[in-house]
């Protein structure tokens, strides 16, 4: 093992690690879209008016949320194909999308719920009084008001998701993390490639965090104004 930091290794590792960037970014986006969609499933399931069913859904969500995503990935990748009857072999990428997607969908479902709960009772009553169908009520009245205030929170989860994606390197998704580790294994110098990974994360996540903070301020003023009119 070389003892010190070497810029030569750094420059050598840089293009190698960057090869994984596209996979990391596309995995993040796919996972996130999956979580956004699946979040609606949870929100829908929790609205079914049956106390027992509701209790089960709540605890299933709690279970998914409070157990490690890493183990969930292993479960999908190694264990799922072994389950008789329903088991199918999943590619590393698909396992990661399902695993991380479902994990974060439980958080995103809660965000949707908080948005829907914040809608004034009068809005529900008005849509009933105006004889809106269920689909129209949700599409034209409830969701257009419920979703925009949750956008900054949803945006934060995009960044959180981005930072969880390197977990997928453990099941063989060739993102920047796996690239750095395999460079390390080939050349027996892990420090430089891992530093590159850290820098890439910092460079991509910090500006997005700043952007979301700005968005939040903008939205807050907008919705506060509405509140003042009310």
């Amino acid at each position: 093992m070389n003892n010190n930091w070497s810029w030569e290794t750094f420059m050598d590792a840089l293009p190698f690690v960057l090869q994984g960037l596209w996979i990391t970014v596309s995995l993040t986006i796919t996972c996130y879209l999956f979580a956004l969609l699946f979040g609606f499933v949870w929100t829908f399931l929790r609205r079914i008016p049956n106390r027992f069913f509701n209790w089960i859904v709540t605890w299933v969500m709690e279970f998914i949320r409070s157990t490690p995503p890493l183990v969930q990935l292993f479960f999908l990748f190694y264990a799922w194909p072994m389950i008789p009857g329903i088991g199918v072999t999943l590619s590393p990428f698909t396992s990661a999308v399902l695993g991380l997607g479902i994990h974060f969908s439980t958080y995103i479902g809660e965000i949707y719920r908080s948005g829907i709960d914040s809608i004034d009772k009068g809005q529900w009553e008005a849509s009933k009084a105006l004889n809106f169908s269920t689909v129209d009520k949700w599409r034209r009245i409830i969701l257009p008001q419920a979703i925009p205030p949750t956008v900054p929170m949803l945006g934060n989860y995009f960044i959180i998701m981005f930072k969880e994606v390197p977990l997928a390197s453990t099941i063989g998704v060739a993102g920047i993390m796996l690239m750095a580790n395999s460079y390390g294994a080939q050349n027996w110098s892990y420090l430089e490639p891992l530093t590159i990974v850290g820098i890439i994360f910092l460079v991509l996540s910090y500006p997005s965090a700043v952007l979301i903070r700005k968005l939040e301020i903008k939205l807050n003023t907008r919705f506060d104004k509405n509140a003042a009119i009310k």
């Binding site: 409070s66 995503p69 183990v71 292993f74 479960f75 072994m82 891992l194």
Partner: protein, 220 residues
Amino acid sequence: MNAIIEIFPQLARGLHVTITVLLASAILAYLMAFIAGLCRLSQNIFIRKFTGFYVEVFRGTSLIVQLFWLYYAIPMLFGIQLGSNWWTGVIAIGLNYGAYLSEVVRGSILSVAKGQSEAATALNMSRFQRMRLVIFPQAVRMMLPEFGNYTIQMLKGTSLVSLIGMTDILYYGDILRSSNLSQAPIVYLLVLVFYFILALPLIWLTRKGERISKKGVANG
């Protein structure tokens, strides 16, 4: 059923590693949270910027990267052997969540109504007294639910130490899986159940924290 009885004690061998890593990294994270949270409110611009740098670096990169980085970098850059991977895991998790929690500490202190510190000034309290007697006790209550949530996150984070060769619950799960592939579903399901059982008291404490933080506080 037999399989469960066989696997359960195998996994339980990793329990003490998971729990000790969780406890130690939680203590480190809480400590870092208060130190960094208060430093970011310091009047000294150098201290403020320096802690800001720490917080942004650890929040901006992911835990698994930090863990591996520390694992390889500490012995290489500083020539120190920490003695065990246990410390590497604790330091990585502690510093990472300490950075997140410092934002909670900072936010809670800033959200204590301004009239409170003005009243304390009017009562001729020093800056330190103001913080210790008036602001801090009110802020701590607000922090409780988030501290609970992040402790659950830390529990989930401890599963990563198996990647640097620590013998935690997941490590034994992986060993069982590789010895008998068809067992994988039941093994990983049990690993998940183990983590969930460990999380239950934390979930309960978080809910209790939520109640305490709301009690006796006027809304709006």
